[in-house]
């Protein structure tokens, strides 16, 4: 069953007088429960595709559906609410709020829910436990290593139990050891917790952890391995 359905999506940008077509008539599905790696050279449109699926950007034409919700036609407000419930996002540069502790950063998505303080507390502790940082809850980002920061970011992405976890170059700023830890964690999230993961990466080793790999070049899928269609 396809969790993400991308149908005939085109996306173009206007740079001064020049029109840049990122995709033209792109179609793809991401199956529920898969771990999909999206690879390709810089400028191939990987991050743009991720933004379209997360509802952070709108396609010029075509439809993007996630879990039966047509995100490409939602209003900004509806999209924000939808993201809060359905999407966990991890960035290359972690993007933790520096003024908040690891605990508070992870709690952020739960502030948008109706959960009580006690329920939020339980969920945050579970999420930090899953990423192995339950002993770093009161640390600020500056007090954590890059790998730890990224694990906090992953905890933040999964704490609200989203349908889809999306990662944009999650190991791009990590050393080999931290990359390995983060990728192992993503593997666990997929296998043990059944999370659907869509990850943009340049790193072939990282992509090996995925159950399917899509190669994108100049807005066109040139190769695919595994469950994605």
């Amino acid at each position: 069953m396809a969790l993400v359905e991308i149908r005939d999506v085109s996306k173009s940008f206007q740079r001064d007088a020049e029109r840049i077509d990122v995709f033209s008539g792109l179609t793809m599905d991401v199956e529920k429960g898969t771990f999909t790696a999206l690879m390709g050279p810089s400028g191939s449109g990987k991050s743009t595709l991720l933004n379209l699926v997360a509802g952070l950007d709108k396609p010029t034409s075509g439809r993007v559906k996630v879990n039966d919700a047509e995100v490409s036609s939602m209003s900004a407000g509806a999209l924000a609410n939808w993201r809060a419930e359905n999407v966990g996002f991890v960035f290359q540069s972690f993007n933790l709020l520096p003024v908040l502790t690891a605990y508070q950063n992870v709690e952020l998505p739960l502030l948008l829910t109706r959960l009580s303080k006690k329920e939020r507390d339980e969920r945050v502790k579970v999420a930090l436990g899953v990423v192995g940082l339950d002993d770093r809850m009161s640390h600020y980002p500056r007090q954590l290593s890059g790998g730890q920061e990224q694990r906090v970011a992953i905890a933040r992405a999964i704490v609200a139990d989203p349908t889809l976890v999306m990662l944009d170059e999650p190991t791009g700023q990590l050393d080999a050891k931290s990359s390995h830890e983060v990728l192992a964690l993503l593997g666990r999230l997929n296998k043990e917790f059944g999370k659907t993961i869509l990850m943009v990466t340049h790193d072939a080793q990282a992509a090996q952890r995925a159950t399917s790999v899509l190669h994108l070049d100049k807005g066109v899928f040139v190769e695919q391995v595994g469950a994605a269609r």
Partner: protein, 380 residues
């Protein structure tokens, strides 16, 4: 309340910047409260006065005296219930640095006409019985440590020489508009010592009905029109108000200063908020990605501006209120009852809310309208 932690963390991001911005707002609103309290106090003082009391002065000016013989003629005017009179003495105590008003009054009629000045009955009787006695305001006891029974010597400035009085009573005003640091002594003693044979500085006249004030004032002035000292009669309120207007258009001046100060602080606060939001484009993008709506982000940024301005208002307005209350400040007797009025606090809070809107609305709109993709692309 669930976003309070985020709000507090953001305000604490640049502690010094936030503290200095709050201090700027606090100082501005402290000044605003102080300047406005000058106006409200002057206004209260000028509004003070019974509707049933008239003041008669020499038409040339209130520093020119009138014959004491006028008292009987004034008493005879239809509608007049009682008449009292007094003279400005202008004596100084000690090094003269601490000014306080001192008058020669016709004590029995004066005290009867001013029930707003409370004097314990035994002290009142002692004062009335002693021609060389004096009645002092409660603040003079605090200032100079004077006590009942103590001899006090004033140095005359208008009427030269050392003048010694015995403190016989301490009055406490029951109305804030009456100064509590004045000194009164017997006009008969003053008259005797100056040898001026019957000159009164001004008369205060109690009338039967307030609505007769204009007719009685006209009748009095007509009566003395062709005398050597023609008179000018008006209500006590108008007389008090004339002192306020002696300072010129002080209201306009103080309001202009207050507005300028508040506007300057608006620029400071707006600048701090703009800097803060400009630095945080990436964080706003992250919050939007997490699911914060434009509206929620708008409210968060505005609440941050509100946190700064309202905290500043709390410190500034609260500080002014407490300072003037506990220091018992009265500007050397010129501004009796100098207290920050509740309306001033309400107005100051309103200004703080306006400051919040004016300084926060542009950064809040900017945060709300931020494109997540552009903001992230610029840093990723």
């Amino acid at each position: 309340m669930r976003f309070f932690g985020l709000l507090r963390a953001n305000l604490g991001r640049h502690k010094w910047r936030t503290a200095l911005t709050i201090a700027s707002v606090a100082l501005a609103l402290f000044l605003f409260a102080s300047l406005r309290t000058v106006l409200t106090t002057l206004d209260k003082t000028s509004q003070f006065g019974s509707a049933r009391r008239l003041i008669t002065t020499n038409s040339t000016g209130f520093t020119f005296p009138m014959p004491i013989a006028y008292a009987n003629r004034l008493t005879a005017v239809e509608g007049v219930k009682s008449v009292t009179w007094m003279n400005w003495f202008g004596g100084q105590y000690g090094d003269g640095k601490r000014f306080f008003a001192n008058f020669a009054v016709d004590a029995p009629t004066y005290l009867a006409m001013y029930p707003e000045m409370f004097v314990p009955p035994d002290q009142k009787a002692a004062f009335l019985a002693d021609k060389g006695g004096a009645l002092i305001g409660a603040r003079l006891v605090e200032l100079f440590g004077w006590q009942v029974g103590q001899n006090v010597t004033l140095r005359g400035t208008i009427f030269p020489g050392d003048w010694t009085f015995t403190v016989r009573g301490i009055y406490t005003p029951t109305n804030d508009a009456i100064s509590d640091d004045a000194m009164m002594f017997h006009w008969s003693y003053f008259d005797e010592q100056t040898g001026r044979s019957g000159q009164a500085g001004w008369y205060t006249i109690e009338i039967d009905r307030a609505e007769n004030a204009a007719d009685i004032a006209t009748a009095i002035d007509a009566m003395f029109k062709n005398s050597p000292a023609p008179t000018k009669t008006g209500t006590e309120q108008a007389f008090n108000a004339s002192f306020a207007t002696m300072f010129g258009n002080i209201s306009l001046l103080l309001n202009a200063i207050g507005t300028a100060v508040v506007f300057a602080i608006l620029l400071v606060t707006a600048n701090a908020m703009m800097m803060s939001t400009r630095e945080r484009g990436k964080e706003y993008a992250v919050l939007k990605t997490i699911g914060f709506t434009d509206r929620r982000l708008f409210a968060l940024v505005l609440a941050e501006a509100g946190g700064i301005t309202l905290l500043g208002a709390f410190v500034g307005l609260g500080g002014a209120t407490l300072l003037y209350k506990f220091s018992n400040f009265n500007a050397g007797g010129f501004l009796p009852g100098f207290r920050v009025a509740p309306e001033t606090i309400a107005l100051g809070t309103g200004i703080a809310l306006l400051l919040m809107l004016a300084s926060g609305i542009v950064p809040a709109l900017r945060a709300a309208r931020l494109s997540v993709v552009s903001a992230l692309r610029s840093v990723e």
